[in-house]
Symmetry: C2
Amino acid sequence: MDFRKIDNLSVDCVLLKIENKVLKVLLRKRNLNLFAENLPVVDDWVLPGHYVLKSNNLGETANRVFEELTGEKHLNKNQFRAYGNAARINTETDLLWVRSRGATTRTITVAYYLILASNKKLLNSSGVEWFNIKDLPQLGFDHEKIITDAFNDIKSKINTEPLVFNFMPVKFTLNELQTVFEVLLDTELDNRNFRKKITSKSYIVPLEEKRKGQSKKPSRLYMFSNDVYNQIVETGYIINI
Amino acid sequence: MDFRKIDNLSVDCVLLKIENKVLKVLLRKRNLNLFAENLPVVDDWVLPGHYVLKSNNLGETANRVFEELTGEKHLNKNQFRAYGNAARINTETDLLWVRSRGATTRTITVAYYLILASNKKLLNSSGVEWFNIKDLPQLGFDHEKIITDAFNDIKSKINTEPLVFNFMPVKFTLNELQTVFEVLLDTELDNRNFRKKITSKSYIVPLEEKRKGQSKKPSRLYMFSNDVYNQIVETGYIINI
DNA sequence: TCAAAAGTGTTGGGCCTACACCCATGG
DNA sequence: CCATGGGTGTAGGCCCAACACTTTTGA
């Protein structure tokens, strides 16, 4: 195992979750005081990421970012684009920051998005915060574009890949699932029609269990079965909202 | 302009075209004789690519590969994935090859696909050859996987993005377009239904012109209008074969 | 005149949309 | 007993798939 980092290669992660009908991105505070006067020279937000170690794969690097934040392994992660323009790092603050890290100013970053279920909590949330994707703070580098690209990729895949279920806890209600679609697509859906479509899919399995307490009337729980989905997908079946 | 290359970063290009109802990939002969006996140590095929120069963007590097082969600029190109596993270069031949080039054995490659119209000819085709994507020769590195990934990406986008038209000359007949869909999706389509769908799209514009000579009966030519498409796309319109 | 590809319409069924009220429970 | 979110059925229309023959020309 070689723990030295490749000084021009990093992985950035767009962690996403839906909470209270809002799509949120996790950002890390970037802060650097160069002068005694305590004037922050760099004071904005960036995506969580890591330089890639000599012995690590790209995906392993994304896993590591995720583990440090959540304490958990194994996750759906999607690589969606690499960013490596020569002038990608060009503002004074970005250059300052990169140099302070002993990295090169021509850094390639490979971007992943990782979707968290709404009930997941972060293990370590110091220096890190969830932001509404429609109301982002000042971001460093080209990270605003990276977030936009991630969101667009997700939207483009939502009808053909079972991505949505990553936003869900293992057991979920149909109304919760509908909300996820509505938030991601930014529309309203007809509840009766939605239920018909969803319950017609063999890979969305109704459980005996009902959830009590959340609302007045108990609601039936469903789960997504990857096993069943993988059988079906061969014949071109998709979710079509 | 800094012409030194970044020794751990390359761009590989999957050039694709459809010819005689066959989807073809362009490969470059890889050949290296290390010993006087003239035994070829490396003798297989790889994707055309380049190391990235310090002053070049990733996309510019893809453009350069394309220009050297076709003599033309400006092209639709799609970045679809980066490959950077630590053990990505691991066979004896691949290691030998990379070292002979003075590059590092931990190289990240960013992959693009570029689609050529069926009537386009290569400017410089020495050391390079078109192969049926279903019948590839011995390939170096992980280039077989890269080609598979490219193909899957195209298939996944074919119904939602106007990718197919890149396989077409500017002016084309409906039957030619149908063939492209059939080759890419590996199915047969009903000619009457296909024509109805296609001619219902305002961005596929019939021309006055007819093509003579190719077949007995002259056939009407159509063109794809990006202008019109861009207007329409906002309202969620797509090609739906 | 015939071979070869271009081009053309209709019908039945399935699927999708639109739409309003009752149910089960907690407070 | 009432407030709250959970849950249900139908009818009309649109779209899609299935299907076979005529047209135009070159040879």
